[in-house]
Symmetry: C2
Subunit: 230 residues, 2 copies
Amino acid sequence: MKTITSRQNPLFKRIRAAIREHEEEIVIEGPKAVADAIAHGWTPIAVVNRDVEFSSELFEALSETRSPQDVIGLFARPRGDAAAILGRRDTIAVALDGVQDPGNVGTIVRLAAAFDAAGVLLLAGCADAFGPKAVRASVGAILSVPVAEITVPQLIASNVPLIATAADGERIDPPSRNAVLVFGSEGSGVSDELARAARKLAIATSGRVESLNVGASAAILLARSYALRT
Amino acid sequence: MKTITSRQNPLFKRIRAAIREHEEEIVIEGPKAVADAIAHGWTPIAVVNRDVEFSSELFEALSETRSPQDVIGLFARPRGDAAAILGRRDTIAVALDGVQDPGNVGTIVRLAAAFDAAGVLLLAGCADAFGPKAVRASVGAILSVPVAEITVPQLIASNVPLIATAADGERIDPPSRNAVLVFGSEGSGVSDELARAARKLAIATSGRVESLNVGASAAILLARSYALRT
């Protein structure tokens, strides 16, 4: 087999589009992560190795990381089912509203796996959980956590109790099951429509900081919910 | 006053050294952060504004961020007192062992403020809490949280009970006071000598992830300790 060196190569262009847009196809980087994805039942569309299928230079042109991996896998984008996530009344689900940082989205996907949440629902204004940065921050959890997009009206219509973090909320434990924990952006919190529909919960803090990072808030509440459930 | 444009200017070189080395002097970036530092009683050695003291080009040469701030303050590096941190038996202290990522160190400084820990003790192999990335990640908390370096023998000799997170630890609540919570690096945990001297605590997880991010672990345990204390 001839090593591909041209940026006009259709597979190169397809992988580059998956890295940039991750609409229909997504990329997993690194030999262990690609092997894990296949072990989880994901079927690769293509697996390319540096200096084998693609020249080293072409490979570098794809990688977003400073220390690029030697293997890239191209996969169909998984489509989580919001109704199935909301149907799991034995645990809680997580919804994110305007969480723009892909590192935070990936961190919360990882926490959803660590604390057995039903899945992660993405409302408007969130970073995509299947972009390369979010996938890396999930440290493999994106393979096992259902992720689906949803709108505020759909979420409210589900009739699953909504719990939103808010500085003026009640200082209560999070629910252990049959609820959606909603996290907003660090700056502006959850949207007004959601805030009106949700019970508001505050994490007790000293007041010496204005807010917690959304990943820290999610860690605290998901761990507590898991501890109350198990 | 004449705007400085030369990279040979002594103040420019001094600020650049503080950004790179943060040994004796450190830098705080942004008008609000500099004002907050002064409000906290920090005395600036110098405050430079873009296009006033320093030309815009010289200013850009200093900034580590993509969207540089318009004000940089130069301050003497605060020296936290490890003995004073360990002497606070009414709350817990945090010790970090080999936490290399400055974002994680800054995040944990922020959590120490949020949950009223006595301070943060840095063991060998940690990123400096006073480097620009850690300062930014602390979101102002570096101004109010005592931070000091310490060695493992000093920490053990303090006779304050040590609690280290470990996958094989007991699934117990963290202490609410009179203890040091020790967090190791995500990959290798705390050092052997510390692990032998500490009681080991595990955060209950589903087992679907190999580990939690050290910032997530700290958020969960500091929040729980604070809830038990207040």
